[in-house]
Amino acid sequence: MHAANTAAIAWWIWPLALFFVTFLLGIVAVIAGVGGGVLFVPIVGSFFPFHLDFVRGAGVLLALAGALAAAPRLLRDGLANLRLAIPVSLAGSLFSIAGALASFAVPTHALETSLGVLILLITGLMLLSPSARAHAPGSDPLAAALGLHGSYTDPASGERTSWHAGRVVPGLLAFSAIGFVGGLFGLGAGWANVPAFNLLMGVPLKLAAGTSGLVISVVNAPAAWVYFLKGSMLPVIVAPSLLGVMLGAQAGARLFRVMPARQIRFAVIALLLFAGVRVLLKGLGLWT
């Protein structure tokens, strides 16, 4: 949005609008099963007057807060595994710092263009159904040394599932790349963590999804510090967004049973598609 068009609007309209938009994002994120951060950065970056530097700073913190809020329940329910999260989070953290630092050396239009392309790719990924069954990996001595196996009980079905993770080195490489991208754009990376755990390392989908949240809460923490100390967090953007997403997520959890999840998921995909195109065209200078 052009600065000249927005300067005449009273300052308080924007944090208020941000609160309402992030409240809605919090609701649809829960119902559609996507992270708030991945919706926040392209949508707020496209339709609010804030520079992408500040939107990314808020985005990384938003993803961190959401993941931290969910982690205790997932750990207690056995749907997130600390042992599985620790090695991949270390790789992801190192590269999330690198991504966050690199982002300040990249021109804004190049960052917007690549963010637009990434969001369109994520939209495509969301259209593919994830596999409920993991592809069983072969034996992996590193996985054995790390004790990456166990069992968990699905609270919904009461079914007990045994799991063995494998392909640890390719997994570490994948989480390094995901960490870099997350740090670069200020996104949570559930959209990439879950396929990396599930399709690459052979972790069952439910455990992959739960542990992904735990990984985000670790990987985004050092990236958040980089953004914070660089100076790209504006309280007037961060605080209303955190509150909006938190309250929205709580409302979303209540509405989960009564809302048509499939339709909302498609609405989110359509919204992401629009925001992805918008931010891509903004980066290319075709829609400022």
Binding site: W11, P49, F54, A239
Partner: protein
Amino acid sequence: MDLNQREQAASADYARCAAIGARVALAVIVVELIAYLSGALSPYVPLKELPRLWHMSMAEYLAAARVPSGWGWVALAGRGDYVNFIGIALLASITVVCYAQALRGFLRRGERLYAALAAAQIAVMLLAVSGLLNSIGGG
């Protein structure tokens, strides 16, 4: 203690730490936001000035608003805008505190490999917290 029991013990400690930390940090952020937007604490950068500044890049904003980067914000923590940074710093610190607790558990249970990984993670986080990387990457 078998693997599942060790995992449960480590997970329970970590979950307790994350739950308490997240609740405290978010409560602090709410109180600080009210103090900021209500004008109870006067901001360093006036709220009315923000629409002129927030469309600038971070580097332009820091220069135009004459605000510090790195740990310079601590000196301004009594102002309405910078008081919010206490809650943000708390939120971003929860993971390192929980990892320190997990490290203690791993050492107690003799899990040396995971103790080393947790220690390495803490070192990475402290490097980010230190601000030593602030000069890298422009901005």
